[in-house]
């Protein structure tokens, strides 16, 4: 799915990374607990979250993610958006709640991708 399709499905606003919205992403995850993201995610490219702090961006960067979707219309501060821009990650904001946002993307074919690493 193209990031531009996510924008359309969630009626989202682009906060940074406008030049990358035609990139393809293949899986997503939704969580407000960063350690869960770091534990269970393998190749997810999209993170949906209700948090808006700097660690959300750093967590996504650690996992080589391509796009962060802030749900429930929360507004991240400028420094959060700036860090995200520097990290080369697209940041979107949607008014939808977590459950609905995840459901809509799933329904349109964006799946959960890999599971917990067991090494």
């Amino acid at each position: 799915m193209k990031i531009s399709k996510i924008i359309e499905l969630l009626d989202a606003t682009v906060l940074c990374g406008e030049d990358k919205i035609e990139n393809e992403v293949h899986s997503a995850c939704g969580s407000d607990m960063m350690s869960d993201v770091l534990a269970y995610v393998k190749e997810q490219a999209v993170l949906l979250t209700g948090l808006v702090n700097l660690q959300v961006v750093r967590t996504a960067e650690m996992m080589d993610m391509k796009c962060i979707v802030i749900v429930r219309g929360k507004k991240p501060g400028n420094e959060v958006v700036e860090l995200c821009r520097e990290s080369g990650i697209v940041m979107l904001s949607t008014e939808e709640r977590m459950y609905v946002a995840c459901g809509r993307l799933y329904e349109n074919g964006l799946r959960g991708g890999g599971v917990k690493e067991n090494e």
Binding site: D32, M33, M34, S35, D36, L38, A39, T49, L51, N53, L54, Q55, V56, R58, T59, E61, M62, M63, D64, E79, E117, N118, E119
Partner: protein, 142 residues
């Protein structure tokens, strides 16, 4: 690189906004050194969890990263309260984090298990009231 390349970071325990920044820097440096993406991710995720732990549980500390061709070592040392029961702390879901930490997205009790999973070897030495040192080793994919 038969000699190690070493980096040292001081982790500020009073400033949550900068927590995780040292790991971001390490990730960038490992990219410049041309390590493979999987190794870089394992090292940086494990260090990131450890770095956050030092900020939320131990009021900061230091991180030393030693890099060889075939191996990377991360040593995280703090002078925090120590860990009373390491086996318990290693269990998935065990956390002493308070609600204010949870509202920041941490405190799931997954950090130490993640660090163990992503590293090839992990040792914890800890003394109550004195501090904790976590040493993680990673073998580079070849």
């Amino acid at each position: 690189m038969s000699e190690a390349i070493s980096f040292r970071f001081l982790i500020d325990g009073d400033d949550f906004t900068s927590a995780g920044n040292a790991s971001v820097q390490v990730k960038k440096m490992l990219r410049q050194l041309n390590f493979d993406a999987e190794t870089i991710r394992r090292v940086s995720v494990a260090m990131y969890e450890g770095e956050i732990n030092m900020v939320i549980h131990a009021n900061g500390g230091s991180a030393d990263v030693n890099v060889w061709n075939d191996r990377i070592e991360v040593v995280l040392a703090d002078s925090g309260p120590g860990i009373p029961d390491i086996d318990l702390a290693m269990q998935e879901g065990y956390s002493t984090a308070k609600d204010n930490i949870r509202s920041l997205g941490f405190g799931a009790g997954m950090g130490l298990p993640n660090m163990k999973r992503y590293s090839d070897d992990m040792k914890i030495t800890t003394e109550l009231g004195r501090g904790t040192t976590v040493t993680m080793s990673f073998f580079v994919n070849s």
